[in-house]
Chain length 418, copies 2
């Protein structure tokens, strides 16, 4: 057992001074010190630091680290067609596995304990997750030319790989698929009684062209086709109509916010006010490192609130507590990781130690606002998944040397980008 | 002498692999290793890390750390009148000095080597700067009720305090002063042949009311009164007209951008495209920790570019190289620290070591874009001012214990906020 004491704990009801004990992969106790203490393998004196649930990066493309700082400052379609697609055509299973590892290092350094990923070469991705003990849920990324029947095998295969791997039904987006695929995925959703995910309403163009093609918005189209009969949600969700928001609220779907990527690609701003009014479930994602370019949930939380204030021209807009909850618990619920969403007895020990001593956290007037408005990755002292410390004080404990991982990724990057 | 080798250097012409040698307070050599090497007191093997000029926080209110996370999410006027002003009325020289120290710790941890500050109790502020060897330039903050004649004594006093302290003529803003003050400051500017600074066009309301009062915009008013005859500039500068931009360009004035504060207070977005087209000098500031809430120039640089893209609805908008230059060199020029603006022989050794090994910097496809789009304070390994290391690997070297400083600030905060 590991004991964390003399600090703060971000619990579902707020910030407490409770201790947190971890036994195996789970949290065994959250409360004050006891008179009769068990034997601990390790005792961590937090000295005021905070234990909080790990961030859940609810939409990302981990394998895209190789394009970081190599494909910037271009309009979306030029970016995709001139930089992203030609480079991705050169990806191999080996290089993608190397690039995924760089992303996983960054997740760990930034307090992220799980990611909801959509990319190529899923076997390599899964292998890293299993080897390291990092929670990785994949979303199926069907596009034109893919056989939607593949989802049946994959669903069975990847959802039976143990606690660190998951697979969700989905497809890339409306504009990259036809009706037959949507119908096939809907059948699969009914077969498995499973949620469905995709990029949804990321740009005005996407929604406009969907209306031209199908007479309705992407959200309404998917809903009418039964794709949301067992839940799910969408990534980005910027250009949603009121009716789309109502569908999300009624179905209990989750909108995954990607403020940094939507800014960098000039896509637009999520309608947070309307989503809050309708009670839409929210989660937070970084999107891939080619369009962000960091995998940093502090920056996402900050920007979501800032953009809400600017969009509404009201400094009172946004809600740091709600967005923090979306970034840790909302993401867990979206990914099906309902045992990783909170610091509470019986929950998986997916947690982060936040350094409250660094000057950006002082004075400690309000822990939640500190996290959202002045926190940054330098405040992450430790990242634990399933009771195992994978990152602490700048060191990674993943069974491989971090610098070797980065150098291998750079070798493959050079082969692809020249 | 200290030798930094085996890394990268951000020089005025771009990123090189040159060594950097520091002798006393200055940079003595930038170039390849020599056959005949002098004796060094310390040799730092950078292992690929980057030496770059320190960030210059060109607009801040350091003493406001006590309000961090204590005054958020309120519209600007409520924020000022209900939270900021009543709390500030309780400030003392002692408490303000303690709050300034917390800000200075944060500057150092985040790679900031100089700040352009506007706040109360300047003697306490100056004392910390001198004691620590941190470069602090004050801007005079005249408001209603202040005697503008005080600027003469202060100008002489603070500009003769050695290399770490500076004082610039200025006033809080148009809306907090009358014509007599502007005329008096203009006289002082002509007396000293000195630049003038103030908050300028931060909100639409400010500009609208200035036009009602004076018939012209703040920028035009100040220009007509001769306040800019010896240069200077403005903080925020969001609601500038084309004519205002022309005045800034023609006079060589500097617009200090504060994207995070302008977002958090829902003030608006700087017109970067127009400023770039007209060639307006740019610098970057955090504004105070009550309206930001971090003192983090990485986040500022990111947000400036993101906001430009969103405002122009064009992912190609913004310019990471230009904004990085504004954050390091533009700020130095604005503050009169022209010997602290670059890594070059003879320049002051105000520099930062950036950790290029952390995964957010990998692969290293483009150092400048890495700094602006994926860099964060966790990448700051060392901050040096005038050849002296004041921060390295999480430790502060300022002659006082960092935790003691933060605790003292928290004690004073409790006295003020209850």
């Amino acid at each position: 057992m590991i004991r964390f004491f003399n600090g703060r704990t971000l619990e579902p009801g707020g910030v407490t001074e409770n201790e947190v004990w971890v036994d195996g992969s789970a949290i065994s106790y959250v409360g004050p010190a006891k008179a009769d203490m068990p034997a601990f393998e390790r005792q961590v004196d937090l000295q005021g630091d905070l234990i909080m649930p790990g961030f859940k990066d609810a939409h990302t493309h981990s394998g895209m680290t190789f394009l970081r700082s190599a494909a910037d400052d271009l309009p979306l379609h030029q970016w995709l067609e001139k930089q992203v697609f030609p480079a991705e055509a050169k990806l191999t299973p080996e290089s993608t596995g190397a690039f995924v590892k760089v992303a996983f290092l960054e997740y760990l350094a930034n307090g992220i304990t799980a990611c909801f990923d959509m990319y190529f070469f899923q076997d390599q991705f899964v292998q890293v997750a299993k080897d390291w003990g990092f929670r990785a849920v994949m979303c199926e990324s069907l596009t034109f030319g893919d056989d939607p029947q593949r989802v049946y095998d994959r669903y069975e295969k990847y959802n039976n790989m143990g606690p660190f791997v998951g697979y969700r039904l989905g497809f890339h987006a409306e504009y990259t698929n036809g009706l037959e695929t949507f119908k096939a995925v809907s059948e699969a959703a009914h077969h498995f009684k499973a949620p469905v995910w995709c990029h949804n309403s990321e740009t005005a163009k996407e929604v406009r062209e969907c209306v031209q093609r199908h007479g309705v918005s992407p959200t309404k189209l998917f809903d009418e086709l039964g794709l949301y009969d067992y839940g799910g949600g969408g990534y980005h969700c910027i250009y949603m109509t009121d009716e789309d928001m109502d569908i999300f609220a009624r179905r209990g779907l989750t909108a995954v916010l990607n403020a940094c990527s939507n800014g960098k690609l000039a896509s637009g701003t999520f309608h947070l006010k309307e989503a809050m009014e309708k009670g839409v479930n929210l989660a937070v994602g970084t999107d891939g490192p080619a369009s962000n370019n960091a995998l940093d949930m502090f920056r996402e939380m900050y920007l979501i609130n800032i953009m809400a204030k600017l969009r509404e021209e009201n400094a009172a807009a946004g809600d740091p507590g709600l967005i923090l909850d979306a970034a840790v618990s909302g993401g867990a619920r979206a990914m099906g990781l309902t045992d990783c969403d909170a610091i509470a007895p019986g929950k998986q020990a997916d947690m982060v130690r936040i350094d409250m001593h660094r000057p950006n956290m002082r004075p400690v007037n309000n822990v939640v606002k500190n996290l959202v408005y002045s926190g940054d990755p330098s405040n992450v002292r430790m990242t634990m998944i399933a009771g195992k410390v994978l990152y602490e004080d700048g060191q990674f404990f993943v069974g491989e040397d971090a610098e070797d991982i980065c150098r291998a990724a750079e070798k493959y990057t050079k082969q692809i980008l020249g």
